[in-house]
Amino acid sequence: MKSGKWKGLLLKVNLHYLVLAVLILVLVLGMSIKSKYFLTLANFDVLVNNYIMEAIMALGMTMVIISGGIDLSIAGILPFTAIIFAKMMTSGMNIPLAMIISLLVAMGIGFINNELRSKLNLYPMVVTLSTSLILKSINLVLTGGTVIAKFPASFKKIGMFKPLGITLSCWIYIILAVLFLYFSKNNKRFIQVFFVGGNAEAAKLSGMNTEAVYRFVYVMSAFLAGLAGILSTTVYNSASFSFGQGVELRVITAVAIGGTSMTQGGIGSIAGTMLGTLFLAIVYNAFVMSGMSTYYENVVTGGMLIVAILLSEGIRKIKLKQTQETLK
């Protein structure tokens, strides 16, 4: 009877979230005992803003990975968008217009990613790796390897804009996260992404425009990377080719830790990704705060990645068995 109750509970509660939440809690508790600065607003600000760009892009990456693909090009798009935005702005263009143009360019890159993938029938990993490499080179050419600064004074105000003490990037993330959470469960287009990832052939035979679904996820991912690029310029008041180095791997790690399947499309969640990102942010912050060399940080993230994947695969198997038993 007791085990039956347990099993019933297991079906309802998402164990993966639970384990992640507990780990996060343990980390927070441990750190707050170790350092009296950990639970301060100032540190929270640092913690959040260290990983805010990753967090924004992880939302889009989750949908790409659920569709059965991957997007490595965000590491090229982020600095590229920052640079063209900075160039346009420093040459005197109206700031909102420069933003819109930069974002449209970013989305264009996502569009190209998908066209290359579908028209040439290439693997998303290869396509987005090439666009990433190409963009990184262009970034160097555009900046000549230097940093673009000397932004207009009116722009600098944007970086200082902190309603309720929360940064602009953070506000944007909160809004996006809420939208993604809701849309990913209820919106037709988002749900189509799950179908396409689960069984693309079946989706096509059901009369779904699968190409439109793929286009949607790649353009969205690129858009979010572009947005992260522009937000980076508000944070640093500059634009540099070195923005977003290695960011694609951190983003993918966050998505994977959150329980989105890397091997099987159609499985994953925005909530998981949000927890995964938070976990990474706290681990990073814990290393900085405790004075341990951050050289070791990736030992923890790497280890956690394996644990998380084992966990989600294991839970999936148990759940499948559970459902099958209840159906009997």
Binding site: N186, N187, K188, R189, I191, Q192, F194, F195, G197, G198, N199, E201, A202, A203, K204, L205, S206, G207, M208, Q264, G266, I267, L320, T323, Q324, L327
Partner: protein
Amino acid sequence: MSLLEVRKINKSFGSNKVLTDVSISFEAGEIHSIVGENGAGKSTLMKIIGGIHSCDSGEILVDGHPVQIHSPIDAFKHGIGIVHQELSIAGNMTVAQNVFVNREPTNKWGFINWTELYEKTNAEFEKIGVKIDPKVPAGSLSVGMQQIVEIVKILSQNVKILIMDEPTSALSDKEVDHLFQLLKKLKAKGTLIIFISHKLKEITYLSDRVSVLRDGRFIGTLDRENMQIPKIINMMVGRNIDQLYPEKGKKGDQKEVFRLEHGSGKGKFTDVSFRLYAGEITGMFGLVGSGRTELAYSIFGADRLDQGTMYLNGEKYEAKSPIKAIEMGIGYLSEDRKNLGLFLDMSVKDNTVVTILQKLCNKLSFLNDQQAADQTKGYIGELQIHPEDCLLSKVKNLSGGNQQKVLLAKWLVSQPKLLIVDEPTRGVDVGAKSMIHFMLRKLADQGMAILMISSELPEIIGLSDKVIVMHEGRCKGVLENVDLTEEEIMTCAFREEEDVI
């Protein structure tokens, strides 16, 4: 006026002419089967009607009006739906989401109305009298249930023409029964059902009419009175197959090759004992879930016995791994050709020699390619694998029957003493089936012991010397096949424990 009519349909893939001037008419409220050997063009014709392929020339008429069908969506507009051979269910999504994929009730912003979705799903299932929780992931259902979900998905789109492409190949007998009842119910409501299957018994049981295709041409339509299996086969292959099964073997000196005593494993089979003799084909009859495949796995070393002893050529034998089993002269031809048998993207040659790679290598582990090619060519000839020049073709480009022959070649090349064949003719057409049967008999005559697992009674009776009857993990009897009937085997399978002698 016919509900659906195809007129002079022609279709080629490249230089390969698949359909030539095919004309058939279908009536409302009938179950109309299409039969033909693999490659006869059945599936292509269905895909043309369903809008997946388009024809090079010819007409499709619905209710007497010519229609243009260029996509599955067009087909649905004309009330045509296909249940495909491969299930097109997204296992990660719920039953309701699968049924209403891409047609979910949404508000104008594209947000799904969940209550309405579940209500509509329940209503659809009620129409066919099936109870199911619309909120469970479709992937957690049995294959039979998934198929019903798929049928409901098609029916929910107001389909009046339902095409079913080999729907029973993955179903258990009980599920097949269920499906047939459903089809008859739909027929009574006036739906036209076009049914494709290799199982002629099913077809004669179910259909009102049968149309036969051969080499992409329409051969003829039979109605119920003229629907005899020999007649259908005759039309399918274009000649009489007087002898579907080879002669039984001669009683040899009964040299025992393999013996299992009181074998139990994994709760799938319990206390099973039997002997296999050189020169004999022993049939093992059992339905899905009778423990037969698990038993074969244990003999082949892919699983371990929990209890019991095995003897090979009189000596105690422990099945540690497939490598060991192959070394000891055991071969196992899997029932799941695509997933467990063949490397679909590799050549016929690579697939054939995979079991003897070690033997074909020199001391430095370099493969003797010439020898590999020679060996493979030998079997291509002997088994009449088609096309003849397929040595380097990818296996996935061969037809089902020829793939099965490659699978057989893969095991023959290792020259086993004991060959276990698990459903050796599943999804294979009549011609190739007969060919495989004769080959198995020839191998037995050459002294091989063969254990043939099958759930097809005619095959068991037609080919085996002895029949082991398995049911729910127990061996219910070993019958000598002297004028054995299907009834005797079924009675044996379902008899109560105390009757076992």
